[in-house]
């Protein structure tokens, strides 16, 4: 390395050291101030996250009364760090301008319901008039997945029209 190169190197070092504009401040105070979203030090409290592949469930008009399948299944993914947890779902009644479809006629079939037998829809279906467990686990940290296939029992006395309601997901956790 020649003398000229050495001088240029030293000049560059001195200029850079004097200007702290591009320096990264990694002090504790700085990190604490930048992490507004959570506590400091980072919380170790358990958490649970539920993700659904769809925002809604749609039942298209059918050719005749009977068990009508939803247009598409709903994918469920749960990530939890709780020692023990369950995710349950329950439906409201579906209401329309000319009547109501009670929640016992809204059904779900999934991996955990294979032993169930519904008197109308048959094997694997559970009515959503009560809370049904669709996922559970321990503090594995792994994602638990399930696919929920919904169905609706349509009867002859259900008047034509549109009906709307809600399926609520709730997690039950043990600290």
């Amino acid at each position: 390395m020649d003398t000229r190169s050495l001088v240029q190197g030293w000049i560059a070092f001195l200029v850079c050291a004097a200007c702290l504009a591009c320096a990264v401040d990694t002090s504790a105070a700085s990190v604490r101030a930048s992490t507004n979203a959570g506590p400091w030090p980072p919380s170790r409290a358990p958490s649970l996250l539920i993700q659904l592949s769809e925002n809604s469930v749609t039942f298209p008009p059918s050719a005749a009364p009977g068990v009508v399948a939803a247009s598409a299944p709903v994918g469920l993914q749960v990530f939890s760090t709780y020692p023990s947890w369950r995710v349950v779902i329950q439906a409201s009644a579906l209401t329309g301008d000319v009547g109501t479809l009670p929640p016992d006629r809204l059904l779900v079939r999934h991996d955990l319901s294979q032993e169930a037998v519904h008197p109308v829809a048959g094997a694997g279906y559970q009515s959503l008039d009560e809370a049904r467990v669709v996922a559970y686990g321990g503090p594995t940290g792994a994602v638990v997945s399930n696919t929920l296939s919904f169905a609706l029992i349509v009867e002859w006395t259900d008047r034509p029209g549109q009906y709307t309601g809600t399926i609520q997901f709730t997690s039950l956790v043990a600290p």
């Binding site: 005749a64 002859w156 034509p160 709307t164």
Partner: protein
Amino acid sequence: MKHVVVALLGASLLTVGAASAQTELPGPSLAVLAEIGSYMTVSLSTPTVQFSIAGPPGVYDANVPIGVPVSVTVGCNAGAWSVSCAASALTGPNGSIGPERIFMQRQSAPNTPDMGAGAGFESLEVKRTVAEGVPQAPQAVEVLNFRILTQWQDRPGTYQGTITFTYLMTP
């Protein structure tokens, strides 16, 4: 030994306490939309009505199945519905029998004026109301008897035609 029993009881109580200490956290929800269409079904207990006429001209009852009238079953989820029927002429190789000579009696209305085939029997030359109703699961709504009136000018032979049922529903 006494200490062991006490320890087990304590563990049991702890387990019960842990199970009841669950916390309920609300999660996401799915909107549900269901669309229910209009349904109506009309079915008959038999696909065929047959008249076996071995005697002189006159009024004859349908005889298939023998002695069993035609039952009409209706299911509908619309606000109101009605079922009607009318007959075509019966045509044969040597002529035809007009629909005015085919008659229907509703068992729920056995006393309509005699139109030539006895009280309660209405000619099917025009569309006749069979039944009317409101939303219901499929069930028998009416029982029908049929008759035919033959005349001297009807030539021997086999005649065929159709009794057509139509329905109407209003939302």
